[in-house]
């Protein structure tokens, strides 16, 4: 099963056309609408930050050019028994500062990922214990058989123990406190690129790591600049000031397609956008309403009926998205093809609101980022106007992600209505249950991104069972059933699955993965 869906995914890849990379130095200048929140690899589980850092830090395993899971810092692994995995670490790997990589770094990084301020506890949720067998071997024992342990480990980045401890970075940065610690602006990984300079929100420069153990393309330096204004971003690409823009603003696709020396590169992204509703507070915040209307299923259904997701796709996303029926896209394992989305119907929505005791609607505040997802601010504005038609008055707080995320993340979850999205980096819907849909159990790494605070115990049980089921077909069925329960409960209102659209100079060969990775070591400048 694993093989088959990975194989189908690989067709979505844009493969390099260059046969052998020339050996001379090439700088890749890239730009995006936002910046990585920090350089700390365990602080903020956000795709852009994760995959930016994946060029600097490495995990035990990673996806290769064809999207297959391959050994990275682990050269090979074997399953000693159903729950015990032994990883043989790669020899001769050094960190950017020259110190050698060994098993204690892996153990340290796992401890770090499990510490209080980590946003990556879920990657080790299935793990009972881990230990260093010797200097170059690590053993992981899972609580129960875990068929997707390797997928889980994809997001676990490995740091240098001595470096982190010497610099007061033994624990991840507290995202909510917006802490400015050493590991926010400094990095010491084993990855193909090392950090030369870092100015948050302005510019980050990387250079190819001389001592890198693996093969790389010909990119020798990376110059990354966040550019928030769409027109500035596109003019930078058109004028040759940058070589790569990701994502490319949708309204400018036609302009770039028509442009000289530039191209549009696109493929399906495994990101599902959704609207979340507070289902855990007795009183929703930042709203004059008494109590919490979202505790009533009919109100949640009304919101789903009122938000015309197809109109948002057609108008705001300019057709560069597909309608989401559930909280994962169709290429993710556990996708349930039998589910459908509640239809857009203002009258049904109004009737449901009236039944729930809100015939005139109510007023509330919506939180939204403006530089995280494709057209996120615009999607929120459209939502505001769509909800106004059923009498729900929405006060929109649209902020850059640097302000948005600290407000809405754990442990305070400071929002009662918001736009967010999720990409299961494992390409398996269990990841969504662990992070977004599962009943919150923060100490055990479950529901760290369940900002809605929704809870469907039967779905939790199914997901927990799937987590320890080795039979792929039975496991998939459980995940599908669990997804059906969540959709029926309207835990979130699914909107759309966005298309991955980049703009690049003609001479750049890129690799696109549906999970938004941008492994720069596979990129080439011709």
């Amino acid at each position: 099963m694993l093989k088959s869906y990975l194989a189908s995914l690989s067709t979505a890849l844009v493969l390099s056309t260059a046969l052998i990379a020339p050996a001379h130095a090439e700088t890749l200048r890239m730009a995006s609408q936002g910046d990585a929140t920090s350089l700390d690899p365990h602080s903020h589980n956000e795709s852009f930050t994760n995959y930016f850092l994946a060029n600097i830090y490495e995990g035990l395993v990673a996806r290769d050019k064809t999207f297959e899971i391959a050994g990275q810092l682990a050269e090979s692994w074997e399953q000693v028994d159903a729950t015990t995995w032994r990883f043989n670490l790669r020899d001769g790997v050094t960190f950017h500062d020259g110190s050698a990589f060994a098993a204690d770094d892996v153990i340290f990084s796992m401890d770090r990922a499990l510490s209080e301020t980590s946003n990556f506890k879920h990657v080790l949720a299935s793990v009972e214990s881990y230990s260093a067998v010797d200097d170059m071997t690590v053993e992981i024992v899972t609580k129960a058989p875990n068929p997707i342990l390797l997928n889980d480990l994809l997001d676990l980045m490995i740091l240098d123990k001595q470096w982190a401890e010497a610099n007061g970075a033994a624990e991840p940065i507290n995202l909510q406190a917006e802490e400015k610690a050493f590991s926010a602006t400094n990095a010491n990984g084993t990855g193909p690129f090392s950090v030369v300079s870092r100015a948050q929100g302005e510019r980050t420069t990387l250079t190819a790591f001389e001592g890198y153990w693996g093969e790389t393309g010909n990119v020798s330096d990376v110059d990354f600049t966040p550019i928030n204004n769409a027109a500035t971003l596109v003019s930078a690409l058109l004028s040759g000031e940058v070589d790569l823009v990701m994502p490319l603003p949708l309204q400018d696709i036609a302009r770039v397609e028509a442009g000289e020396g530039v191209k549009v590169v696109s493929s399906a992204e495994a990101r599902t956008m959704y609207i979340g509703m507070d289902q855990w507070r007795d009183q929703i915040i930042e709203s004059p309403v008494e109590g919490n209307p979202f505790l009533d299923l009919r109100v949640r259904q009304a919101i789903a009926h009122a938000v015309d997701a197809q109109a948002i796709i057609d108008r705001v996303m300019q057709g560069q998205a597909t309608l989401a029926t559930q909280y994962v896209m169709d290429k993710v394992n556990g996708y349930n093809p039998d589910l459908s989305r509640l239809d857009y119907n203002v009258d049904t929505a109004k009737a449901l609101l009236a039944e729930a005791g809100y015939p005139d609607g109510f007023e509330l505040t919506m939180d939204c980022s403006t530089d995280r997802y494709v057209n996120d601010g615009q999607i929120c504005q459209a939502t505001v106007s769509l909800l106004a038609r059923v009498g729900i008055t929405v006060n929109l707080i649209a902020q850059p992600k640097a302000q948005f995320f600290p407000k809405v993340v754990a442990p305070d979850f400071g929002t009662s209505f918001f736009l967010l999205s999720w990409t299961p980096s494992t390409m398996d819907s269990l990841n969504v249950f662990q992070n977004v849909l599962g009943t919150r159990d923060l100490d055990n790494g479950v529901g760290a991104w369940n900002i809605s605070g929704c809870s469907v115990p039967e779905a939790d049980a199914l997901a927990a069972e799937a987590a320890v089921t080795m039979d792929a077909a039975a496991r998939e069925k459980m995940l599908q059933d669990a997804m059906a329960l969540m959709v029926e409960d309207v835990c979130l209102v699914p909107l759309h699955v966005q298309q991955l659209v980049w703009g690049a100079a003609e001479n750049i060969d890129v690799v696109q993965h549906p999970t938004f990775e941008f492994p720069l070591e596979y990129f080439n400048v011709n």
């Binding site: 003019s235 603003p249 302009r255 108008r315 705001v316 459209a382 929109l396 707080i397 649209a398």
Partner: protein, 300 residues
Amino acid sequence: MFDRIRSDFWYELLNSPVTIVSAIIIVLMIIGCTFAPIFAPHTPFDPATISIMDNNMPPAWADGADPRFLLGTDLQGRDVLSAMLYGGRISLLVGIGAVALSVVIGMAVGLLAGYFGGMADAVLMRIAEIQFAFPPILIALLFNGILKASLPADVFAQAAVPIMILAIGLAGWVQFARIVRASTLVQRNQDYVTACHAVGLPTLTIILRHITPNILGPVLVLAMLQIAVAIVTEATLSFLGLGTPLTEPSLGALIQIGSQYLFSGVWWVVIFPGIMLLVMVVAFNLVADWVRDYLNPRLR
């Protein structure tokens, strides 16, 4: 001063057609924006009346236009003309409000410093000079940032206009303080002030009833110029995403939204609000210029 206004004001004004046009533009903009709900064909700040299916319509004279939207619509389906009128209202309100605040603070500081001199003068004017060393936009950003950090996000979003008035007003008082202090220094040694002292009038009365009317001329000129500056500052803050919320954009915020679509052919969202901002600022400047010339006997 006020006597002179009565005798030759109209003569001077009628001899300056540029000023007349500018003044008419300002009056029309103030009326149009103040009564935006009456003049605007749509209510862009009411999300219930906006349909996303009407988005990106070109202006009425272009191909594929909808006659309901004279200057086209933006990505959300908002009527650009209506959004300009409503947005212009915010810009004017912030511009005038911020300058009113600057005038009040600046006059109080300038009168105190100029009239009493000594320690009060030294301390107040040093503070003013320190602030003067920083560009006003930086000060406005600072105040805006402090307020944003100290207020809950929902309060901040709903109080965007008063917050901007406060931020820009606090950034602009120094110039008023300096000009008022200089004028007060001249006035306080005049014979009429000595006479006031002689008849035993209280200090406050002397300052408010006798000195203040005599220093209003330069303050008026500066205020008109500063309104234009404040409108641009507001537009800058909004353009940087620090001003009005996305659902209730001011002119600057409209330009910011429109500027995202410069390459996509949707030019009308940025061009029309841009022209309106330009015309508004130039008109205020031209009228202020004329008032300055009018009040300055040496220029005539």
